[in-house]
Amino acid sequence: MAMSRLGQRPTEVIKRSVTLHFRWNGRSFSGFEGDTVASALAASGQQVFSRSLKYHRPRGILTADYWDPNLMVQVGDDPNVRAGHRLLEEGMDVRAQNVWPSLRFDLKAANSLVGRFLSAGFYYKTFMRPRWLWPSYERVLSAFGPGGRVDIDSPDRYHDKRYTHPDVVVAGAGPAGIEAALAASKAGARVLLVEHEHSVGGHLRYSTRAAEQVALGKLRGTLEASDVEVLTDSTVTGRYEDNWLGIVQRNHPIAVERLIKARAKMLVVAPGLIERPYVFEGNDRPGVITSAAARRLINLWGVKPGERAVVFSANDEGDAAADLRDAGVDVAAVIDGRKGHRINSTRGSRRAVEGVVADGVRIDADLLVVAAGWTAPTSLLNMAGDRPAYDRYAARFFPSNPPDSVLATGGLSGDGTLDELRTHGAATGRLAAARALSVAHRIQARTARARAVGGPEPDWAADDRLPLRRDFHPELFRSDTHGMIDFSEDVGSKDLLAAAREGYDSVELAKRYTTATMGSSQGKLETVNTVAVLAEARGENIGEVGTTVWRPPYAPVSLGALAGRVFEPVRVSPIQPWHEANGVRTILAGQWVRPDHYGDPAAEVRNARSNVGIIDVTPLGKLDLRGPDIPKLLNLLYTNKWSNLAVGKVRYGMMCGEDGVVLDDGVTGRLGEDHYMMTTTSSGAGVVWEWVENWLQTERPDWRVHVTPVTSAYASINVAGPKSRRLVGRVVRDVDLSPEGFAYMEVRSATVAGVAGCFMWRIGFTGDLSYELHVPAGHGMHVWEALIEAGADLGVGPFGMEGQRIMRLEKGHFIVGQDTDGLTMAPSTGLSRLIRLDKENFVGRPELGWSGSRRLPMIVAIQPDHPQTVPDEGCQIVRGDTNEILGRITSSRMSPTLRRSICLGQVEPELAIGGSRVTVLLASGDRIGATVMGHHAHFDPAGERLRG
């Protein structure tokens, strides 16, 4: 047999005037615009499209649509493309997958000779011994894996996403779906109609009946004139909580695929029915196709599917005989399944059907068209929590009790004439619109920004649709022979029966053991046949066995579409352009892009220690606090006392969680009578803000405090070093900068370089004389440049995060989250004077009160014996030559100031005494000696420079 192109068909979707050229396994082919990859190949006489997973049997067209498991191909760098759906494009490079060495001659087909050994789950039963050989076995097994190839160097593509809030989403644009959309729209609803195929119309698209063609034309016309938003080649991929729908749009002009996230008030599910294969010996031989496939090939793409056909049919709709005859195919026999007739097997070469055995009689034919029945793709309903109910009379599953916000129509709901289906669709659309109106009213009435709604909420519309009738359909799943059930997984009915005998007889266990329904169509073709065979094995009916759970997505979605455009917010200080213009190496700290250094961090430190350095510390968390009850708030949040902080003073504080674990630290200054500025660590700013709000809103709503995050309202610049007073004096004229006039841990309002509304405080994270200037951010760059200019003769230079980290380590200041961890309680910091248990309740007090009896590790300064050895942060402190862990190094650097390695670490409490000797296990495996210092500061322990 070979398929070939027919003359023009009235229903065809191809544009014969436009020829497209493409390659298939390296050879040149052509097709027409409107062809799918598969229809173009079929029209060119190709029969074999792929090889099966386990046995490498040749596979041809089965369903000729998106779900066809035999039509998975590679297109360029795009693997697993569905050739039954993907439209042909000029220049496409299409290749068969899972073939070795070639599609025509596949050596792995030898597998089929040993098929009897490759029973279900065979791999669980072998390759256990010898253990060392398993990796080799594994490589061989994985070489048999299905699927195409990714090119890891594929260029980045542009993807996109959007949100939408329609009243009604209709999934499926067959006649019922279109009518539902139109009726809902007419009733005033905003409607989104989503069609999986390239055009609307459902099965009417490939119907040659005149009345159906007329109906389709009218429906299309009405739809175009309506307000309904129509998306074709798009799929509702999932229904999540509260009608949150994922929709993938595959034909958007600006993106390869676009994900639409719709919060629909109502969802109408109208996907139609999927024709299911029939199970018999040789049912996967090329030349066996479904009736819908035959009709699609003939009527949509003008492809003649064979020369001489046997038609097996169990329903009127699936009767392709008329279409076949119309296309000039010789119909050798029509076998009617409703009358008890059966297909027993196909005969022929490995590559094609040559004969069909029906009721024991061989009929010569190169084509077998099968219409066994339907699978209802209830996936979207299942995702809504509905368990479909099986109806033996109609031989398929039906929705049973979907939530109120989901309605089904079309073939999913029942049978009927075209008019009956359209009537049901329209009634469903009206019902959906009425309910959407209630929902909209409810949402609008509760949303502060929305327009006020008048009147009472409309009544919830009752479902008074006339149900669609259900036609009798024979339960045709398997003939008296065995055959393939899952084409993509190469699982046959024999495998399922064997699995059931072994005890894997529930549908979930059988699925896992045999992998039936786990392939490319995710059960849309295989589920009912799988369940039917299990029912046979268990002596039960299909309803009792039940189905597996259908999971999202309904159709596969590319990772690119799911990712969409990259939203990774970054924050920058107003001074960032200066940093970039001056050779900065940035570092990402949380969302902040910060200067790490400008080339030589050690030199930056030396300059700051001997002259003056400036660092952009804008990310420092800043909360503006206003109100009379701030001292109460500070007393609650910090472990130390805050009642007596005078205006103009600054104090350091540490915050703990309710479990006594250190949460954050920073200084808070009193700018005015009822006005404070709290600072937090850069990384803790957001957490602390929410934490403060939580205490104020839930525990202390009576306190009068207003909290405003002002982190980026101020550009913050720390001026550090012995010459910092001189430098600051050149840009600040309205503050007395003498040590007496502006002492350590004090705050002043100031005008800096002509910028009013600044404040500054004298603190010293670096351990040097330093001023931290906070200037309105819209003038941050101006002030920074003014400092650089004014300090040129003082040797002013910028320093970055790395320089600051070195200097703070020299000074022995710990960093929350680096030197502390998720279990570090406040006493471990050694700052016991800051933990005032005599103060009435503060956060963390109970646990801190009881912590005295616990052996808490302590943060200590450590100096390795060898001054040039810097242990990596994270290295362990161990007992002598043993593997017993006594602590770890949390921070370490080479100090440019002291010219030796310095560390902070956590150690067992016994070792937290100045002079203790410890052993540090280096990453290299060497063990070195080190000494615990008597205080945290390696540099200027008396704090003379700081306070000077």
């Binding site: 479990d659 839930t698 109970p846 009881w850």
Partner: protein
């Protein structure tokens, strides 16, 4: 995406809020025994059913509030949400 009925903003996506977990009374820190305090810190009822819990509308009104939710079905009680209810009228 769960729709959370913020009492100020109206129904909002759960991603707009921070989940605060089971609401439970804080014992008086001045008098609580270690046993009571740690039960408060760590132990949870974690029922499969109605639960009173706290939320923070971080993208919206920035208020902490309590709601009742059925942890088996994710349905909110008072005010009920649009859709997703079974068995007819609101």
């Amino acid at each position: 995406m769960l729709l959370v009925p913020c009492p100020n903003c109206g129904p909002r996506n759960s991603a707009d809020l921070r989940y605060g977990g089971e609401s439970h009374a804080r014992p008086d820190p001045a008098t609580a025994s270690p046993h009571e305090w740690r039960a408060y810190l760590y132990l949870r009822h974690n029922p499969a059913g109605w639960l009173r819990e706290t939320w923070y509308c971080r993208s919206g009104c920035r208020r902490w509030f309590a709601l009742e939710r059925n942890t088996a079905t994710n349905e909110f009680r008072d005010p009920p949400l649009p859709g997703d209810k079974r068995g007819g009228a609101a």
